[in-house]
Symmetry: C2
Subunit: 324 residues, 2 copies
Amino acid sequence: MSKLSEMGEKEAVRRILAEIAEKESSNAIGPGDDAAAVDMGFIYLVATTDLIAQSTHVLPGMTDWQIGWTVAAVNFSDVAAMGAKPIGLLVSMGLPKDLPSERLDEIVRGILDCCECAGGEMLGGDTKESPELSLSGTALGTVTKKGILLRKGAKKDDLLAVTGSLGLAAAGYQSIKNALGNKRAEKALMEPKPRVREGMSLSASGVVTSCMDISDGLASSVYALAEASHVSFEIDYAAIPVEKEVIEIARKVGMSPEELVLYYGGDYQLLFTLKPEGLSLLSSLLGNSFTVIGKAKAAGENTLIEGSRTIPLENRGYEHFRHG
Amino acid sequence: MSKLSEMGEKEAVRRILAEIAEKESSNAIGPGDDAAAVDMGFIYLVATTDLIAQSTHVLPGMTDWQIGWTVAAVNFSDVAAMGAKPIGLLVSMGLPKDLPSERLDEIVRGILDCCECAGGEMLGGDTKESPELSLSGTALGTVTKKGILLRKGAKKDDLLAVTGSLGLAAAGYQSIKNALGNKRAEKALMEPKPRVREGMSLSASGVVTSCMDISDGLASSVYALAEASHVSFEIDYAAIPVEKEVIEIARKVGMSPEELVLYYGGDYQLLFTLKPEGLSLLSSLLGNSFTVIGKAKAAGENTLIEGSRTIPLENRGYEHFRHG
């Protein structure tokens, strides 16, 4: 009898997906993408759910506002990864009996502020008594049929790109863990910004061939995109945008910056592929808010160029059940 | 500083709704109804979320299949209450580290079976480690703009009606608590059937003026409908369909059947009002699957006719945080 602690979250999800596939022939795209997409005739309705729980996801020092913000942000990030425009959010809250109402108010304010930032509405919720604080969000959005972004679709020779920079949230985690007090990195970790505007622009561009959000780290996302698209990727490490705080914090804690950039999550940036001829169009649309970091090749091993060496990219990242 | 245990779930929800109302002018109908309804142009998208947690909602003897079924059922029940046709369900699962994978499989089977029964798809999910089992569902559906059913809309002289019978789930609760072994009543409690087909028929009829599901008991639902519609209701207790198991179990445990029928929840039937002239049309559509139990009067006190007496209907029902 296997337990979740042995099989890990990905295996749990795989089993569930297999059971669903067996049971019904779905009209929906996904499960398996960042969000499900339901055919509504002329558009797709995009829907995704993600939960955070006090003991496993709430970091020391995290404010109630940040807890609320985060449950909204991680869900809107999945909507963004599909190229969709947010409709809104629903949140089920498991609340301890002795939770002061001021804490609930702050959590709700964080949720509402993130909804406003993402351009979605708080549509509804549910509160129930629970031994520990847990917040489960569901974000909804819409996207044109032509504009939907999926994990599959990348073709050989497409360019691989990311929005923003990588590793800052991981550096924030190390800052907290080692009491380094780097507020900027810690804030990046505890107030992730869903890349909604970027996702909608990628969708509208018509040149993006696949997309997902990087929640569990770049490497594991590259593997997911490669598998869904039946290609492999070659990443140029030197091209990845990394902020100086990441280098500094890595040095202070005796880790390599590569570890934070490649194998930790929390940045909630978008990882996507584009047709090479679409690069200048996308630059016009998005300015310097994205960076090409590699390219797609025929199916095979995912690799990393580090200086003059080309080495295999390891398939690991942050995963629940097995860590922490 | 007030705590949730003092203010109760309804007050927690009221505070959240007040904060939302302050923050934004919503394009959505609700919050405040059984589900939110988002204007999608030619239809409403209906969305609702509800969570169940091991320690507070899972009854002794409940199977994993029943736990999965229930999280789907309570959510589809809210979709049904809006008169909507289900699209599908998303479920976030907080899972203990040592949960055997066979238990997860059974939970998922329960969810999928209820989805099939309700005519919705399992659209997606999320699994996270959590100290106790908690399942948070979000159900989606669509309804025509003309056909949406809300809590408001009842007019003086409208008839008040319920689907099915009342009190059987409450009797099931007493059967478990007192080890009476009444399997039929216990099953009614642990496998609630969302009244999806009935809700869609009520919507299509054009004669139903308000609707909600009875999750926390008839009395508290009557108060909610009365408040939303600015009317009051007179209930004829003798007209309420009550199965013989309810009478028997009430007698065995020394309670009045009225207590189980009026002030306990769990039946997940629909409570609705209809125009008096629509009664025969609705009977043609729904057969004997609903019963008129009272009528709407001008705003004022909600009352109960018991034999020759007319007494006030008490405003109480099952509520989290304050009970159990």
